[in-house]
Symmetry: C2
Subunit: 321 residues, 2 copies
């Protein structure tokens, strides 16, 4: 067992309540949703394409559907079987592009394995950038780089909202982003840079990753490995943002992460599995502030999806009248 374990220290970090910030964002969206509905005779609408039977995807989509409906958005889920053809998915996207009552389109990743990678890319690229509420279309990614995004990826823009609303300064600080995915790492780095952080992007090939991460006044962990970021990665007092949502099934792994005798290990024993971030719980003993998992970045991602949907609806209606 390394030093990065739960019993090594008492939590001191301020816990950043992502759920509360997400609730605040969602409540701010309500008047926008209502104003849109009054003006256009219908609420903003989000269409989600869900192909196949990946259990995690079904949970994510259900959460998005519920949150959207609660916000007053019309959410339509298009459920397609796991043997659907790439052509059929693409045709659906093209239809949704043409549908003037559709404001936002989200094709849930991953698409079924039967759809080749290039065809999957074609499907994502086919989404009208003005309806691309995930912010993954190349045109929206390019606008993000150029500091003029209207629809930015939900997770990193949720992190920026959290930092801003929690009055954590960004400008002039050194932010370290661990992970370089298209959907989190890279856009996160660009958004932090836009807010005048000095930004370092690390990944699997980074040499002496703990030492590099330890320079961060802000550390964003987006690697997808449970408990990967331990105390030795973190400068005392740093702000740590945990983007990971990892399922832990093994008891040994759970004890290594949560610590013997911890409440979270007891919860694990009851359920037989647990959700764990990329950050080891012991980091709470050294960080200045920390997002929990669950209840941190996850709810923010969904809140920003709703915000993007309303923004897309407003922007499109300002063009089409």
């Amino acid at each position: 067992m390394t030093e990065g374990t739960a019993q090594a220290s008492t939590p001191t970090a301020r816990i950043l309540n992502g759920s509360a910030v997400a609730a605040a964002i969602r409540s701010e969206l309500k008047p926008r949703v209502q104003a849109f509905a009054v003006r256009h005779g219908r609420p903003p609408s989000l269409h989600i394409v869900l192909a196949g039977d990946d259990p995690a995807s079904h949970i994510y989509v259900r959460n998005k559907e519920r949150a959207g409906t609660e916000a007053g958005i019309t959410v339509t889920v298009h459920r397609l079987s796991s043997d659907v053809s790439a052509e059929a998915v693409r045709d659906l996207v093209v239809d949704l592009n043409r549908d003037v009552t559709c404001d936002g389109i989200l094709v849930q990743s991953p698409l079924p394995g039967s759809i080749p990678k290039a065809a999957a890319q074609d499907i994502f690229d086919a989404i009208d950038p003005s309806k691309d509420v995930d912010g993954f279309h190349p045109t929206n990614v390019g606008l993000l780089v150029q500091g003029r995004a209207r629809l930015a990826p939900c997770t990193p823009s949720g992190v920026i909202e959290l930092l801003t609303r929690e009055q954590i300064p960004i400008s002039g600080l050194h932010a370290v982003v661990i992970g370089r995915s298209e959907i989190v790492g890279k856009p996160m780095a660009l958004l932090l840079l836009e807010r005048h952080a000095t930004v370092t992007i690390c990944h699997s090939r980074t040499r002496d990753l703990p030492a590099v991460a330890k320079q961060g006044d802000i550390v964003v962990a987006a690697v997808g490995r449970a408990g990967f970021v331990t105390r030795e990665f973190i400068k005392p007092g740093a702000v740590v943002i945990d983007v990971g949502i990892n399922r832990v099934d093994g008891r040994e792994a759970a004890e290594a992460i949560f610590g013997a005798g911890s409440q979270r290990l007891a919860d694990f024993e009851k359920k037989g599995s647990a959700i764990c971030g990329d950050v080891d719980p012991s980091v709470a003993g050294i960080a200045g502030a920390l997002t929990p998992v669950p209840g941190g970045v996850g709810p923010l991602t969904i809140a920003m999806l709703l915000k993007n949907t309303i923004t897309a609806a407003e922007d499109r209606s300002s063009i089409t009248g």
Copy 2:
């Protein structure tokens, strides 16, 4: 006078000959140009829009025109007066988009001051991404982020070519990019990241910039300030890429940068001005390798513009037949 001056040490850095690498790139383009010309009955064509009378722009365009012509590309320069309307420039771009014999479009920056910033942005955005040989269109920038660019910005992709051909490893090294412009800093960081460097992006708000830069195994200076990067920024043996092209007019500044008694100061005395990079010449005494200015990154930028033009021509012809 700071320690970062020419007389402080003897040059030891290997000088990276950008001109020679650019010549090699250009010679590799010849068979592609010829094959295209044979197949299509005309050479690839580049159209440059030059509005106004900025002297530096006129020099840049002349250099691009000459290099293109030497490579066998048809280069057409559209010279517009400094009081041209934004609409007229935009109309020209739209015409060039439609012109099937036009393969590449470059609108030289900056556009005249009489064209408002938003209108200038509209002009650049109007360029068909498949003809965008500068690689500045949001769609091309987004594809770059996603690691699937066909047309990448010329200066940073030229730097990658230089590093590759000079057999300087990138993967796993720490690269520090000083400057975060759309045309150099950001795409440079993304291209280095794609080649598996750990990347730090610094800028004017970075705290203790010399200490951050000194971590770099590779340092790319793109700040636009003559001699800004001094010895204290550089780890002994680091590879230093100087993207700056700055005009030095004052004798005092020239002596501070080039050093009393230096050949370059003597040249300055003769001409009354000199071109100087962002890197202080004294860095040659500590760096492991260094690009000179002139003769470093500048020729590579032009070579990559020609390469993009041919790539655009080939890609479009593979679609249109």
